[in-house]
Symmetry: C2
């Protein structure tokens, strides 16, 4: 109850609060003896300095924000660990915000972050987000931003992502080489960078192997499991059904498996399946699924590290750094 603050300590020690503050920070201005006395009492009373008073005065919050669509995907789960590990090492706190794929919410959150609450922000944009105005607005306010995984095209922001284009290409090529001729691409957004990059890679492979491009093979899914299931089922039930499927995100792999099960389609005999995912259970699915596996932890780590680099202004102009960490194609029984 007797919330001990710096004044309490000062009074009990017969010192001024300034002196106590300096002693606690091990300032050269204070004698060793006094420091000892101050430290001892602080320990005894379990003194914990008020974080906000300190932040207010120093204009530094020692806090970063993490703005995510959701924690549904195991990608983000793992990325959080990477980010948190770096932040903890640096003695920073992490605020987490979920946009639920909603642009208005994302905008509102970023606007709120102009309040001095955080020193920097990590963002993986919502599916709905098309332009970076709200992000630049935050930067203009003096809050550095690093985008990770889901970045935006043509921004002058620091970014960490993976080689989505290349992986879309490699995965599609793999499916083609395994005999697929009609490969469906399961998207989750028309304007999400990673999904489009992967799609462009897909298209490149299709072109390269001179397969007929088919708009019906581009299936746009969304956040509704019901809709996705229906859309995939419709495609796989058609007489001209695909013989290969490339899922742009993890949960669409699972939906695809469920649909195949329902339709009694054999994987990989009737249809081959690959997808972007880091599911730990990928290898024990029935059958084990071929994945393009992103270095989620490392992406999180790199994004956080880059943000701290900007905060510490070590390098010149790291505000526009783009880091690309490669993913790996892991071939399993489904293709």
């Amino acid at each position: 109850m007797p919330k001990t603050n710096i004044r309490t300590l000062a009074k009990q020690l017969g010192l001024s609060q300034g002196t106590v503050s300096k002693a606690l920070k091990d300032s050269y201005e204070i004698s060793a003896a006094t420091k000892e006395r101050v430290m001892a009492l602080a320990r005894k009373l379990n003194y914990v300095p008020n974080a906000y008073a300190s932040s207010l005065r120093k204009q530094k919050s020692k806090t970063i924000a993490l703005v995510l669509p959701e924690v549904a995907d195991s990608f983000f789960s793992v990325a959080i660990n990477g980010i948190e590990s770096v932040a903890q090492k640096k003695g920073y706190h992490v605020l987490i915000y979920l946009t639920h794929e909603n642009f208005a919410k994302e905008k509102a959150i970023l606007n709120e972050l102009k309040s001095g609450r955080v020193d920097g922000v990590l963002v993986s944009v919502a599916r709905e987000t098309k332009h970076p105005n709200h992000i630049s607005a935050l930067q203009t306010n003096g809050v550095p931003v690093v985008l990770f995984d889901r970045v935006l095209a043509d921004t002058i922001t620091a970014e960490v992502c993976t080689n989505d284009f290349e992986c879309g290409y490699i995965a599609t090529k793999h499916l083609i080489e395994r005999g697929c001729r009609k490969i469906a691409y399961l998207s989750i957004s028309k304007n999400l960078s990673i999904v489009n990059e992967r799609l462009e890679g897909y298209k490149k492979a299709i072109r390269e192997y001179e397969l007929p491009p088919d708009k019906d093979l581009l299936i746009t899914c969304n956040n509704s499991e019901g809709h996705n299931h229906a859309a995939i089922k419709k495609s796989l039930s058609s007489k001209n059904r695909p013989d290969g499927i490339l899922a742009s995100v993890e949960k669409l792999i699972i939906t695809t498996y469920h649909v195949c099960k329902a339709l009694h389609l054999e994987i990989p005999a009737n249809v081959k399946v690959a997808g972007f995912s880091i599911l730990p259970s990928a290898a024990i699915l029935s059958p084990p699924v071929t994945t393009i596996s992103q270095p989620a932890f490392e992406i999180g780590e790199a994004a956080a590290a880059l943000l701290f680099k900007i905060l510490e202004k070590k390098d010149h102009g790291p505000e526009n750094t783009k880091i690309i960490l490669p993913s790996a194609l892991i071939i399993r029984g489904s293709t």
Copy 2:
């Protein structure tokens, strides 16, 4: 750059900062005309009040902390969504901390949270945590705590968890009724409440069916995937190998599947497997795995809601409320 604060507004409007502050908060003391002028300029300059100045004065942070072992498990991923959804509705911010199952880290984090940074804390304790001293210390400091999922025995803290004892019992009973006589229980800690509750349920079923208790069937795993794999493999390779396995956490199911695959043990013919998990891919594993599925989102929601109830002191004495949300046994091909 020209960081607009309340003084900037006041100066431009020819008002005192107190008046501006009150106008922005729609105080009855201020005339409608003045409020309009203030609001208009605030909008124009995109004024965002400094969060920490406000928190410092009001002694309210509008922030809660979420202290977790890790975000590896899909349980916590989903729980975060539940917690965040409630916090967002209440206009609260969420700080996330990972203990990495380390007690010392958990203690340090909770100690730091005495700094006034948060109004309340949600904790799911680390595997190593045995006693609640660090938690009561925080409470004594005036910071309410709600434990969720991984709670501590004999605490006077508010808690939200699931019916672990009952589920351990039901799952074990299910395995017995499917013909198992030697059921191994895969633990991850000697002192974690949920793991022990589940174990007690397991023991009750074993007793009830008069199966011979066998210490070799209690396998203690840890955070090392290698160790766990080896331990399970050793057990399943022994001549007296178990014919049923109950995994206390999600990742041990996956490890078990991998071991069975490596040993060419058929599930469920040679060994039946069940586990506590909300893996979305549970139904499409090979074979689909029987799970005890926790209401993770709801537990998160309930925990956050309970914390806010305490913060708002609506009820009398919600500080000791215990909420139990039931899990469900979902029987699939593995048993």
